[in-house]
């Protein structure tokens, strides 16, 4: 019985037709265009820089809940919150802190600092989350309303930036659809 079900789902279906799997029609500087069931939609993506909360107090909680509830009530469109949990690439980090001045690199203190940094970073696997809000709309007119609502989230303390530019959107989609390693 189990094998019958398995065969039914996998029969003659080795590779999916890539062009049929995704509904993406085009990517332009402002948005991604998709077409599903003959309905053309614009996909707008907003990157959300999160707030840092270390010691949460009741007043902070109450403020955030009030403002977020206000956002939910005013938002009359369906939306998607997209979260990627990614590992911080330590090698990239070290490349960033390499100093061009050779005298400093030869310095004993600098060497100790670097080696200690390396061990402590390797001991701590650091993961950070990236957040996005994704909106799909049919008419361009709705965009002003949506922008107003989404940017109202900045009252909480988060900063919001719209993903724009064909290349940026293309790279973003490439990393998500190919499921490349989430490494920052």
């Amino acid at each position: 019985m189990f094998n019958q079900i398995k065969n039914q789902f996998t029969k003659n279906n080795i590779y999916e037709d890539i062009y049929k799997v995704y509904d993406v029609v085009d990517i332009n500087d402002n948005c991604i265009l998709t077409k599903k069931n003959n309905v053309l939609k614009q996909i707008h993506i907003y990157k959300v820089e999160p707030i840092t909360i270390l010691n949460i107090t009741e007043s902070i909680t109450a403020n955030i809940i009030t403002l977020y509830t206000e956002f939910l009530r005013s938002m009359n469109y369906d939306f998607q919150i997209y979260i990627e949990n990614c590992q911080v690439n330590i090698n990239n980090y070290f490349e960033n802190i390499i100093i061009d001045d050779e005298n400093i690199n030869k310095n004993k203190l600098a060497k100790i600092y670097k080696s200690e940094l390396e061990t402590s970073l390797n001991e701590n696997n650091i993961y950070i989350c990236n957040y996005y809000i994704v909106i799909a709309i049919e008419e361009e007119n709705d965009l002003n309303d949506i922008n107003k609502n989404i940017y109202s989230l900045s009252k909480i303390g988060v900063s919001i930036e719209k993903l724009q530019g064909k290349e940026k959107l293309d790279n973003f989609l490439y990393s998500k659809s190919n499921k490349v390693d989430n490494i920052c």
Binding site: I5, K6, T10, N13, E16, I18, Y19, V21, D23, V24, D26, T34, I43, P50, I51, T52, I53, L54, I56, I64, I65, Y68, T69, L72, N76, D78, Q80, I81, Y82, I83, E84, N85, C86, Q87, V88, N92, Y93, N96, I97, L117, S120, N124, N125, I126, Y127, I128, C129, Y131, Y132, V134, L153, S159, L173, Y174, K176, S177, N178, K179, D181, N182
Partner: protein, 238 residues
């Protein structure tokens, strides 16, 4: 011509899909704790596994929901009056009715709105055995925090497409994963916060007292209001 397409998607195994050599499984959250506190949802997620998560929030027509609720409450009342009190599910029926009444009260008196929410999480790995292990580990961590999840076996492709940033849901997986929530419940799953202080181009200042994680700050980043002064703790803090 679009450049983001993967070279191939292999959907022959019901336990996972293979995209350009990466194994991907998708799970959906089908049940949440009865009382969920603020930040509890994101704190329940394991932070040492790479994953992509999509939370879909869809506002519902309140009047339609109220009509359905009232109809169902009257039906259950009639059923309670007619069934035998020794029946096993009599308590469940009573609980359902009281929950429905409570929801109706919240909508009418506290002006709450009703949302359909769907949560999908895709986990990926380079290794075939590792993906099964990671999925089990992820689910058991969620289960320990009272978040009940289902693996989308046979429907991993639909699950994968739902975890892409297109805001589209496949109908074949929406029925099993739909959860009704009120405005206050959706507000409690506020995700846009972090408990780590790590800027990628920053300098390490030490460890945070709160969770003993590395504190790495780029003081010249735009997200900080003033790069000339940096306060790490309040006065009289340890």
């Amino acid at each position: 011509m679009l450049n983001f397409y993967p070279a191939y998607i292999d959907n022959t195994n019901f336990r996972y899909i293979n995209i350009d050599g990466k194994y991907v499984t998708t799970i959906c959250i089908v049940n949440y704790p009865k009382k969920m506190n603020f930040m509890q949802f994101m704190n329940s997620m394991p932070k040492d596994i790479q994953f992509d998560m999509s939370i879909f929030v869809q506002k519902q027509d309140t009047i339609k929901v109220l009509k359905e609720l009232t109809y169902n409450i009257s039906n259950s009342k009639a059923e309670i009056n007619t069934i035998n009190n020794n029946q096993i599910d009599v308590d469940i029926l009573g609980k359902l009715t009281s929950d429905a009444k409570k929801l109706r009260y919240e909508i009418q008196i506290n002006n709450e709105q009703v949302y359909h929410t769907y949560t999908y999480i895709s986990i990926k790995s380079d290794n075939e055995n590792d993906i099964i292990y990671s999925t089990k580990k992820f689910r058991s961590i969620l289960y320990s925090k009272m978040l009940i999840s289902n693996v989308l076996n046979f429907r991993h492709l639909q699950g994968y497409l739902s975890t892409l940033p297109f805001n589209t849901l496949d109908e074949s997986i929406t029925k099993t994963c739909c959860t009704n929530m009120t405005t206050s419940n959706v507000a409690n799953i506020f995700p846009f916060y972090t408990d780590t202080v790590f800027d990628i181009k920053g300098v390490i200042f030490g460890y945070t007292n709160h969770n003993k994680k590395i504190c790495n700050i780029d003081i010249f980043s735009n997200k900080y209001t003033n790069s000339n002064i940096c306060i790490f703790g309040s006065s009289d803090s340890n």
